[in-house]
Each structure stands twice: as C-alpha cells, then as structure tokens.
C-alpha cells in the first residue's frame, strides 16, 4: 500500500519550505493568476519554480491551484500560464473550471489535473465522470461522512483527496454567492468576504425569533479529522489535505508536524492510541485560535459543531522565535524574534526532528553582544544559551495557560 500524502498549504515560499521541513509530502499554492485566495499569494512563476526545486529536492510535490471560475474576461493568458506551470515542473494543478481541466490536458499534459472541491464531488459516479475525461484525482466534498468516503472509495477509479484540517465553508464549496450579493466580492474568483460568519437577525414573517445576545450565524468550527485518520487510511484515501493558505508559519508547522506524527505512527504500528490523540490535541491548542470539530465525518454537524457568539478559542502557547542557527560548541542559539518574551520565561522548543522540550530563557544578547531585557522587536536577531541541542528551522514558543481541549 502506498503511503498517504500529507498535503499542506503554502501561502508563500517561506511557508512552503516550513511545511515540507515539518513533514508535508506535498504543498499546494496559488499563483497570482486564475486562483482563489489570490490575496494570499505572492507566487510569480519564478517563485513557483523555486518552490518546485526545493520541494523536489526534499522528495515532495507541488500542486498549484488554478481554481477560479473564470468570467469571460478572465481567460486571457491561461494557456501560456498552464505551459509555464508545466515548464517549471509543477506536479499537479487543482482546477474547478471544466474548460481549464480540458485545456490543461491538451497544452500541458505533464501536469496532473486534480478536480477541486469546488465541484462538491460526493460519490463515485462523479469520479467516474472525471476519470472518463482523463483527469487524475478528485478532491471530495467536505460534506462526506466517514461512511460516505469509505463507500465511495470502494468504487473510486481515481485517487481521492480529502480535507482533514482547517476552515470549513458553511455552504457546499463553490456554490455560495453570499459574498457576491452582500459585498460585490466574487467568492469564486478569490474575493470571499466570509459573510457566512457575520451575525444575522432571524425573523418569521416579521416576528423576531432570534436572541439579541446570540444572533444567528453560519460560522462553523474548523475541521479536525485526527480521530478518523486510521479509517481514512485503511479506506485507501490518497491524500490528506490541510486547509489554510492564510495561516502563519507557526500554525502550519504545528499542524503539519502533528498530523505527520499521527500518520507515521499509524503506518508504523497499525494503531493510534488515546495518548497519541491527546498529544495532538494539546499540540494543536498551542497554535489554533478557532475551535475545531469533526466536520461531517461523524455525521451531519450538530449544534455543538457551530460557532455561536464566539469566534476564537485563544491559543495556549505563543510562537516567540525561529531558530536561525545553533552552535553546538557554545550552546548559543541564534534566534529571530516573532513575539514578545523575556529572560526567565518558560519556553518550549520543537522542530522537524526535535520533540517538544521545555527550557527557561537564559540571558538574551543582541548582535553587538549587549544584554537585552525584553525581546520586543519582531524579526530582531538575538542570541541566548540553550542547553537543548537545537537545529536551524526549529521553533520556540512561550508556555501560557489557556485552553487545551478541542473536542
């Protein structure tokens, strides 16, 4: 059985590299053209080429979202763009427009074409259709339960990708025009205003039926599918996708590393224990600021799977520094500051090959060797002695006391 792919979002080159270093088998990114989340992109073709080179050097793949639903005026330059993606070695494109899918097969045949979740594919009949059209993979709709995925997999003629973590559209993906209607921002061309997460008054023929202190909202908890991973792997799902091209490098590293550990543990031992899940729950709580739930995997979402009157949970730990270098002889770490911290703060280091390890922040020095009381300037370079053997690209977070439970 081939190993399931862990597919992570890459909002920029830095996050692409972090995702791969922290355990992603593949990353997906949006270019500046023909992509949703265009706001999240700074990938010119040259950047994509650099990302591909890095990914391939680390045995990972790059998928590029070409998932806009183009209007008449959006089609110019499409063919050249697809050829450029093929030329720089992109492995796959994620597409919503049937025309773009067919065109890619004609003009850039080395690109795999993955059918976007914008098509809300929920069964093997849809997969049959795309198989007959020469496509290579289908991303299932987030509306599928675990049983739906399992029964679909029994008949699927193409590799299937499913979402395992991150934000959830309240609507069937791609079928929502709330943003278009309410803000004139086209949700299917990269402008979604997330109007579903706003607050609304609900009436029945003029009579208010809402509560003033808890207005109606269509805001969903984020997806966390960790407890379904074993059955999804056993069902033969080809790829596990993490949502969140807008998320921070720290969030990305934490989430990717957590799922990497779960997948590796299951593939090595054939079992995931409550302790494994508990570790991930605790880990994710250090980075997430929105509550999570099982999405549709456990069945139709219930009242507790929605966010009413609350939009965030608060993280339990805060990313404070990125490790730029570490001197094994002197134990001095070269850090790039990300958030405020000070000498004697309790901290935790982690990395691609470093398990979570607590330590106390020692005396801090700036680049001139002067003692610094408080690290308060983001991106400032500081030095401190750390007795844990750190490596370049490890991360350090400050221990705080907030929520730890997820669901």
């Amino acid at each position: 059985m081939s190993k399931v792919e862990l597919l992570a979002p890459a909002g920029d080159l830095a996050r692409l590299k972090i995702a791969i270093r922290y355990g992603a088998n593949a990353v997906y990114l949006g270019g500046k053209k023909f992509s949703l989340r265009s706001r999240a992109s700074n990938f010119e073709i040259a950047d994509i080429a650099e990302g591909v080179e890095f990914a391939h050097a680390h045995g990972a793949h790059v998928h590029v979202t070409v998932n806009m639903l183009p209007h008449e005026e959006d089609l110019e330059g499409l063919e050249a763009y697809l050829k450029d993606l093929e030329r720089v070695g992109v492995d796959a494109i994620i597409v919503a427009s049937f025309h773009i899918m067919k065109l890619a097969k004609q003009v850039a045949p080395n690109l795999e074409v993955h059918v976007s979740t914008q098509h809300s594919s929920t069964n093997s009949g849809v997969i049959d259709f795309y198989e007959s059209q020469g496509m290579n993979r289908v991303v299932l709709a987030r509306e599928c339960t675990l049983d739906d995925v399992k029964t679909t997999m029994q008949h699927a003629k193409l590799p299937v990708e499913v979402f395992i973590h991150g934000g959830m559209c309240i609507s069937y993906s791609g079928r929502c025009t709330m943003s278009n209607s309410m803000t004139l921002r086209d949700a299917n061309r990269g402008g979604c205003a997330q109007s579903c997460r706003w607050k609304y008054k609900l009436y029945d023929a003029g009579t208010p039926i809402y509560k003033e202190d808890h207005l109606f909202s269509m805001s969903s908890k984020d997806l966390n599918a960790m407890r379904f991973l074993p059955e999804l792997i056993d069902a033969g799902v080809a790829s596990f996708k993490i949502e969140g091209r807008m998320k921070s490098p720290y969030y990305l590293a934490t989430v990717v590393r957590s799922y990497r550990k779960l997948i590796d543990t299951y593939e090595q031992t054939g079992v995931l224990s409550d302790a494994d899940y508990a570790w991930v729950v605790k880990e994710l709580a250090k980075a997430e600021n929105r509550l999570t739930g099982p999405g549709f995997y456990a069945g139709l979402p219930k009242v507790e799977d929605h966010l009413y009157g609350v939009n965030g949970a608060g993280v339990s730990q805060e990313f404070i520094a990125y490790v730029l270098d570490y001197d094994d002889a002197t134990n001095m770490a070269k850090l790039e500051v990300r958030n405020n911290f000070t000498t004697n703060d309790q901290a935790e280091a982690f990395g691609p090959s470093l398990d979570n390890t607590y330590f106390t922040i020692d005396t801090l020095y700036d680049e001139e060797g002067q003692i610094v009381d408080v690290a308060r300037n983001p991106m400032q370079v500081l030095y401190t002695k750390v007795d844990i053997k750190l490596k370049k690209h490890d991360m350090i977070r400050k221990v705080m006391t907030k929520r730890e439970s997820v669901y």
Partner: protein, 298 residues
C-alpha cells in the same frame, strides 16, 4: 419558435393556469430526492403531470439538483429509469453522477446542467454542451454583457434565470434547527418558507429555509429582467426560467403574462420594470448582477 418560459407550480392543479398565463414548461421536484422545489411529486403524480402537460403541449422538467451520496446511487438509477419511462422532457441536475448514470441509460439528451455558480464563461458552457446535454443554465452572478457573450458564442441551448429571488447559498447543514437548539427555542423552522435573515448592519430581507436537503438562502433582492429580454433573445437565448419559491400562483401567473407580453413587445420592458419596482417595494426589485460586476479580489 416561441420562447420557452419555465416555471414551478405549487400544486398540479396550477398547471393549466400557468399554461393560460403563457408558461411553456413545468418544473417539478420528486419525492425521492427533494431539493428546494415548490412541489414534490411521487411516481403517480409525475405521470399525471406528464399527462396534463402533454395535453397542453407543455414540457415537463424534473428537478434532480441534489448532491448524491454513494448510497443514493442505486435509487438515482431507478429514478432516472422512471423519468425516462414517463417521458419527461428535461432533467435539471448539478451532480455529475447524474450524467454518468444517464449516459449508461442513453438519456443524456434530457439533461440540463444547472450548477448554480459554475457556468460563467462560454468555454466552460461549451465543454458541458459538448457532452450531449440538452441545455446549460448560466450562473446568475454574471453581467448582461457576459450572458450575451456566452450565448452568442456557444453552440447549443443556454437558459437564464430572469426573475425571482436567486439562490445564494446551499448548505447540507441544518443551520436553522441547530440555531434553534442553541437558543432553546422550539419555533418551527423546517419547511417554513416565511423565514428571513437581516444582517445586523444591513437592511436586506434574505429568505432562508431548511428542508431535508439542508439549508437554502436566497438574495435580499428580487431579480427582474423585463428590460433585458430583447438582448437575451437577440443573443439567441430561448429558454427563460422564473423562480417562484416565494410567490403564489396568482403572482406567478401575472409575472409570466408580463414576461410573455414583453417578449412580444420588447419596447415595453422598461415600463414593466419600473412598474414592478414601484408596486413591489417589499420585494426589493433590482436587476441583480446584470449591470454589476462582482470583484475578483478583496
């Protein structure tokens, strides 16, 4: 050829009234897969609808717009066979599994692809029409210029929705039921079509209802395209749908008559639009996106 005006009745008894008003096609939902229709029929009622529409020379179309789960596929195949046997004239669908199964049954020529938001340019529309479909429904979020451009460039039939509240969001979730549970209310919300939302900082009344297929939300405005009918016809469009979810049969008959009149007398389009704007203020009559381009970016 007379332009095709497609409407949904509220009961089968409405069919003759709608015919008299000028409708040429009747669209019904089916019990097996309910999905945001004004009416759902069982097999016997479907045959009755076929009999009535045939006697009047009308088309009978069926709404099969649901998303199907794997366990639905066997029932879907059975229903397609029934629809073929009954001899319906068209089947609206959004899930491409319908195409896959219809192809096996040699009935793709009955299919009308209606994927809400997906058809926004002529090349996509043409690719789907090339599959041998009867017709494609254009997205409602594109401009008149785009509609005309698409219709002028494709080979095959396209349909436009010309009037009514437009579908704005479909969620599989029971959003209203869940909210009522959250606020400990037993107010009936399922299949209640009197419900609407007002965003806390805005004024639009946006209809919302929940049925077995999930939660459906509609625009705060009512689209009216009287003034644009001539442009549509000149672009080669012959199929026009009127959304009637939040009307009644008398209101619907009036709307049909007015569109039929405008099709014969295009110069009257502006006056009809202004009349609707004046007389139906509570419906917030607008031209939707026909002259409003939505932005590609934030």
């Amino acid at each position: 050829m007379e332009e095709n005006i497609i409407v949904s009745p509220y009961t089968l008894a409405d069919i003759e009234k709608l015919y008299d008003a000028g409708a040429t096609s009747i669209l019904v939902g089916i019990d097996a897969f309910p999905f945001a229709s004004t009416i759902y029929v069982n097999h016997d009622e479907l045959k009755e609808a076929r009999k009535q529409t045939k006697a009047l020379g009308m088309n009978l179309y069926v709404n099969l717009n649901a998303f199907f789960m794997e366990h639905d596929i066997d029932v879907l195949v059975k229903e397609l066979k029934v629809l073929k046997d009954v001899g319906v004239d068209g089947i609206y669908f959004t899930d491409l599994a319908v195409y896959t199964e219809a192809k096996k049954l040699d009935m793709t020529d009955l299919l009308i692809y209606n994927p809400d938001t997906l058809l926004t340019n002529h090349l996509d529309v043409q690719e789907y029409l090339n599959l041998g479909l009867q017709m494609c429904t254009l997205a409602s979020e594109i401009t008149l210029e785009d509609v005309v451009s698409i219709a002028s460039k494709v080979t095959g039939r396209v349909e436009v929705i010309v009037h009514g509240r437009l579908s704005m969001m479909h969620s599989k979730r029971t959003l209203l039921t869940n909210y009522m549970r959250f606020i400990n209310s037993d107010h009936p919300v399922v299949d209640n079509k009197r419900l609407y939302l007002i965003e806390e900082k805005r004024d639009d009344h946006m209809p919302i209802f929940e049925d077995v297929s999930g939660t459906h939300m509609y625009t705060g405005f009512t689209l009216a395209s009287f003034e644009e009918m001539d442009d549509f016809v000149k672009a080669g469009i012959r199929d026009f749908r009127i959304e009637s979810m939040f009307s009644n049969v008398d209101e619907l008959c009036r709307i049909i008559k007015d569109y039929r009149y405008v099709l014969k007398h295009p110069e009257s389009g502006r006056a009809f639009y202004q009349e609707y704007e004046r007389n139906f203020v509570e419906q917030h009559i607008t031209k939707g996106f026909l002259y409003t381009k939505t932005g590609a970016k934030k």
